[in-house]
């Protein structure tokens, strides 16, 4: 079922601007969403981790990503308005700011800076981030959105080795498959259609191709100089990885992105003109000030060659051997989901095991930890992980702000810390120089 993609002429490759193309795709996706309710199309709310998008697409659901809606309020500098609305309603200052922005959106009757967000006929909340479930419970009680909780078992202990096909993986996959069976029955009821296995296999084939390119895109940033910044350009890439997972546009984007970056590498062109330090970013972005944050690092010749965000925020789908077997689409979907979810979660809950390897893979000179006040998923173990990584004689920096709440961005303080970090790095010298 896999179709080889013919390579396009060089002129097209060079005309491709991932940022412009990414923005176009996101804009079109939102435009489609605006019409979904009027056109009577089924709509599902999903999160970026553990979402069974392949099944939903097979039923032609239009996908709303509430996390992306919330981060877009940040990017568009209107998050504070939404957050304040929810706090006035009674939400605690200490809960996830994405959730608060979304509650603000409900209070504004779904009017979002990019357009109107449609009402969902189904929500899928995985347990990968516990807040997903609490978030879906808000829709359940407020909007009466039927919710399906997809329970995906994670890594149980340090040093946990699960390989595709072993007893533990088989047991976990069976559990995931049982849940998919129920989810499919729900989708059939909502849409009045039967699951088309061929269609599911086609979607999986497109995901396979997308993930293949995505892995290559990540590998390309192991090169020096790094062709892109994982925490700026990478955010566009992962947005497409999520929103267009399983679509032809998604495959085309990733393929062209890979070609584009390959060409950059061939030209020896890096994201930063004079790359002096390669860094790893652990945590989630601060979407209200990400450009500024990256600028603080790039001014010193520092580039984020990798971020664990690019792994967990795509549900852990970045391990090369994770490919759907399209000849048995349902079983394979459960098997890959079970293991991908575990990998995505491991990046957080047993972060030290992954980081040590990623530091080596990307040849990084240091790790920047970004703690998010309102996100316990990424932040609760971060300071301890940092301490562990420091014991490996890897320079680290810890900064704190928020996903989208501009009130937690302290520019002068963060700049001071970044500058001090680079001064120390400078004294130490980059790994390439030594």
């Amino acid at each position: 079922m896999t179709t080889a993609t013919a390579s396009r002429p060089e002129t097209e490759k060079s005309a491709f601007d991932p940022r412009v193309e990414g923005q176009r795709l996101i804009k079109e996706w939102y435009a489609e969403l605006e019409q979904a309710n009027e056109l009577g199309q089924p709509v599902a709310n999903v999160f970026v981790m553990g979402n069974a998008v392949e099944i939903l697409r097979a039923f032609d659901f239009k996908l709303v990503f509430p996390e992306i809606n919330s981060l877009q309020t940040g990017v568009r500098k209107s998050s504070e308005e939404y957050i304040r609305l929810s706090e006035d309603y009674g939400m605690s200052p200490d809960v996830c700011s994405y959730v608060k922005a979304d509650v603000g959106l409900i209070l504004k009757e779904n009017r979002h800076p990019v357009g109107r967000i449609p009402k969902a006929s189904l929500a899928i909340a995985s347990n990968m981030c516990s807040t997903f479930i609490k978030w879906a419970e808000i829709w359940e009680r407020w909007l009466k959105t039927p919710t399906f909780v997809l329970d995906l078992p994670g890594q149980r202990a340090a040093g946990w080795q699960v390989r595709p096909g072993d007893a533990q993986h088989s047991a976990d996959s069976r559990w995931v498959e049982a849940q998919f069976a129920e989810l499919i029955a729900r989708c059939e009821k909502i849409t009045g259609k039967k699951l088309d296995l061929d269609k599911l296999a086609e979607i999986e084939d497109r995901v396979n191709r997308m993930v293949g390119h995505w892995n290559n895109v990540m590998m390309l940033n192991r090169r020096t100089p790094a062709p892109y910044n994982a925490m700026l350009d990478g955010l566009t890439y992962i947005g497409i990885m999520n929103v267009h997972r399983g679509t032809q546009e998604g495959v085309d984007f990733m393929r062209r992105l890979e070609q584009h970056l390959e060409a950059k590498v061939a030209r020896g062109e890096g994201r930063v003109k004079d790359e002096r330090f390669r860094l790893l970013f652990s945590g989630t972005p601060c979407y209200v000030s990400m450009r500024r944050l990256v600028e603080l690092f790039e001014n010193w010749g520092g580039v984020f060659a990798y971020s664990d965000y690019l792994t967990f925020a795509a549900g852990g789908m970045d391990a090369a051997e994770l490919r759907y077997d399209t000849s048995r689409p349902l079983e394979s979907l459960a098997e890959v989901t079970a293991i991908a979810a575990q990998r995505g979660l491991s990046n957080q809950f047993f972060a030290h095991e992954r980081l040590a390897q990623q530091i080596r893979d990307y040849g990084t000179d240091g790790v920047v930890f970004h703690g998010i006040k309102s996100c316990r998923f990424v932040s609760s173990g971060m300071a301890d992980t940092r301490e562990f990584i420091s014991r490996l004689d890897v320079p680290t920096l810890y900064i704190e702000s928020d996903l989208i709440d501009p009130r937690y961005w302290a520019d002068a303080q963060i700049k001071n810390r970044v500058d001090a970090f680079f001064e120390a790095l400078g004294q130490r010298g980059s790994r390439r120089a030594s």
């Binding site: 200490d94 981030c129 994670g154 849940q179 972060a351 301890d384």
Partner: protein, 390 residues
């Protein structure tokens, strides 16, 4: 020698003194009771103590550091925005108070709790450190099989640690011991509902919490003595409103806070220490004991903000608590920085606004030490309730 006269008040004092002594220090008491080869610390909420008990590991519910513990290490290892129980548990891991545990088990109740397994693994590598992956979807057929497999896995991990097989017979014996405990705790709560003037919330809390630092067998004996003594207790009913307390499912409020509430209200039901009494009915003693436990998680477990079950809405179970306890009002609390608790606290208050149930919203931290203001709030609330009910 003349036979000592049974003095129920004295007896109750002795029992409560033993409970107090057991829980005074949040760490692990020295020495092991007979029949146990080690201790297994478990974080709230839904831990099947029976499995550890049958493995010869004394289950120790880790319920935070209280309000007398000095934080020396955890401040540098956990952000200030993480709840106190996670921070104090980390502190106890790092300051040596829990160094003698054979292992530590946490659950996917929330993201902060999941991180504790990694923190444990990094800092106490000699201990077993596990996440017991209890499902957040119990409504799909197959959930019991999955939980049973997870329980079997835990059984295997503990067998490897102790070097001793855990037989089905040992598990059944533990089920029986814990079923007795459940029955006794149900009696304690029934007394709180039927005659709250006989047993305060604080006393009942201490009676329950004692099991966190002693074998279930000893706890059963203490509860039996307490219930016998309470049957004789002569205490006049006072003019206090009947309230339900919620928000104590994981991090625990300080005793002083409960005392302040007892002063003005009868707390006729609560979700305090729910992790020590989350199985709401007896676990079937025949058949496969692991399956029986797993099936009980699906069919007989207490609802809380950290368990998703399509059959139990958060508003629904709280209304059920109010009805069951014939309560006039609710005290809706949440631990500071506890996202699930804070989310549900708001949902509950909005629901009560709609259905017209009076409530008081309080936020607490296990480490808080000042209670005057809170006591005043509770007193004012109680007075307004009495006035409205008069």
């Amino acid at each position: 020698m003349p036979e000592a006269v049974y003095d129920s008040q004295k007896e109750l004092e002795l029992v409560l003194e033993r409970c107090n002594e057991a829980v005074r220090e949040p760490g692990i008491p020295p020495g092991l009771p007979e029949g146990f080869s080690g201790t297994l610390g478990h974080f709230p909420v839904y831990f099947p103590e029976e499995i550890a008990h049958a493995a010869g590991l004394l289950p120790m519910a880790l319920l935070g550091g209280g309000n007398r513990m000095e934080m020396k290490h955890a401040d540098a290892r956990m952000g200030s925005f993480v709840c106190s129980i996670c921070r104090s548990t980390t502190e106890m891991g790092l300051n040596g108070s829990l160094k003698d545990l054979s292992g530590f088990v946490t659950h996917p109740i929330c993201d902060a709790a999941k991180h504790l397994a990694g923190i444990w693994a990094r800092n106490l590598p000699d201990q077993v450190s596990q996440i017991l992956y209890l499902p957040q979807n119990v409504n799909t057929p197959g959930a019991v099989r999955y939980i049973a497999a997870e329980y079997q896995r835990l059984r295997g991990v503990l067998e490897a640690k102790t070097g001793r097989k855990v037989s089905d017979e040992a598990l059944r014996a533990s089920l029986r011991t814990y079923n007795r405990n459940r029955a006794l705790l149900r009696e304690v709560y029934a007394l709180r509902r039927d005659a709250p003037w006989k047993l305060s919330c604080t006393e009942s809390y201490l009676l329950t919490r004692a099991r966190s630092r002693m074998p279930c067998e000893e706890h059963n004996a203490l509860l039996e003595r307490a219930l016998a003594a309470l049957a004789h207790r002569k205490a006049p009913a006072q003019d206090k409103p009947r309230v339900v307390f919620v928000g104590g499912f994981c991090e625990q409020p300080p005793l002083e806070m409960l005392e302040a509430i007892d002063e003005s209200c009868y707390v006729v039901d609560d979700d305090l220490l729910i992790g020590m009494r989350w199985l709401t009915a007896d676990v079937p003693e025949g058949g496969d004991p692991v399956w029986a436990l797993a099936e009980s998680y699906v069919e007989r477990s207490a609802a809380s903000p950290v368990q998703h079950d399509a059959r139990k809405s958060k508003e629904g179970y709280l209304m059920e608590m109010l009805r069951g306890a014939n309560a006039d009002a609710a005290i809706l609390t949440a631990a500071k920085f506890c996202e699930p608790g804070l989310d549900d606290q708001l949902a509950w208050s909005k629901h009560f606004d709609e259905v017209g149930v009076p409530y008081l919203v309080l936020e607490f931290e296990e480490k808080m030490t000042s209670f005057e203001q809170m006591a005043m709030q509770v007193e004012t609330f109680a007075e307004s309730l009495l006035f409205a009910l008069a």
